[in-house]
Symmetry: C2
Subunit: 210 residues, 2 copies
């Protein structure tokens, strides 16, 4: 089972690594980070540089296509790249499942892979999704047929567990959950609906970009 | 603020990327992946290869030292490497905080950085920790002075949020939590205390190693 993860300059690593960690434990899984060029990929912060496995044309047809997100200024050029768009449409046509995390949904929308209905994404992207003519659901995971979209960054873990149950079965997904000891216990309540918290979150994110 | 993350062949990526994603958003944070050699680092599954920022000697004194885990057969050679042990002891001496995720605790114990008391780690490592003369707490996060240890893999996110509150303040940590939209909602209950689930988890993990 081939899992192709789109890799691009300025991507947010946890968007990809959360699902990678879950999906790579599925029996028979092979995960590839696939990029539009041969260059090493540097994350949004500038602190991690990795080597994609192959370029778009060499990737082969994915069983699972996954698109991680990143800051808008790094996502938009990728979303508007015709070669990436064409590759995503082709991969999606033959995929068993197609998934996005965070602002990865914007890339799938721009490519015409998602054309209607509701999508999950980062709360920062809610207006952009509305501008693109789709509905931001505000849900942690939104499933529409074979397409799974997840909320921001860490939501890819939840999404990938749901996707694993769909690909394999619930017992397998729960064993993977045990393997990554995903029994989350944030040390304080989530306050991300508070406008003041959102403003500080946006500032911290912006200031951390490499 | 310099955050040095130990990188080594066969490490589990989410152990490092969870905390990286949180800590890199702290004001003034600079994160370095530091390795014992110049080679690119390949993760436990074999599916991700990245370039460490520098070698041990070139890393500079960390404000925060972080040690991720991995499968026992990949962790143990690192834990027993005298150069790594010495580097960890030196870094820990000058650090403001020292942290591990998952079986990274075994590396800190082997280096003599943690010498007594309770530690969090992956449930799979509970017996090994007892064999090393320490107490596995079974907690998601254990704090002993300036040392934070986390449970398996995904627990590094929870730990890093607690650590962020200690480094900065709770408002900052909660804003980072909002930034990575960490409002976890696993699609099914955690069953990792069930021996049958643990057995399947161990098999899936073993079969996924590259």
């Amino acid at each position: 089972m081939l899992i192709n993860i789109l890799a691009y300059q300025g991507m947010t690593m946890l968007d990809a690594i959360g699902p990678y960690e879950v999906l790579s434990r599925l029996p028979g899984a092979r995960v590839q980070f696939v990029a539009a060029g041969r260059d090493a990929i540097t994350s949004d912060t500038g602190f991690l540089t990795f080597l994609p496995a192959c370029e778009l044309d060499a990737a082969g047809q994915a069983d699972v296509l996954l698109v991680p997100g990143g800051p808008p200024e790094r996502v938009m050029p990728v979303a508007q790249d015709p070669a990436v768009q064409q590759w995503l449409r082709q991969q999606h046509e033959g995929s068993r499942y197609t998934a996005s995390v965070c602002t990865g949904a914007l890339i799938l929308i721009a490519a015409g892979v998602i054309t209607e209905g509701g999508v999950s994404s980062h709360w920062m992207a809610a207006d952009t999704i509305a501008d693109m003519g789709l509905a931001y659901t505000g849900e942690r995971i939104t499933r529409a047929g074979k397409v799974f979209t997840a909320a921001g960054v860490s939501a890819g873990i939840d999404m990938a567990l749901a996707l694993s149950a769909a690909i394999a079965d619930r017992d397998t997904a729960q064993a993977i959950q045990a393997g990554i000891e995903y029994d989350p216990a944030p040390p304080f309540p989530y306050t991300g609906d508070d406008p003041a918290v959102r403003e500080l979150a946006g500032t911290l994110l912006q200031d951390s970009l490499g």
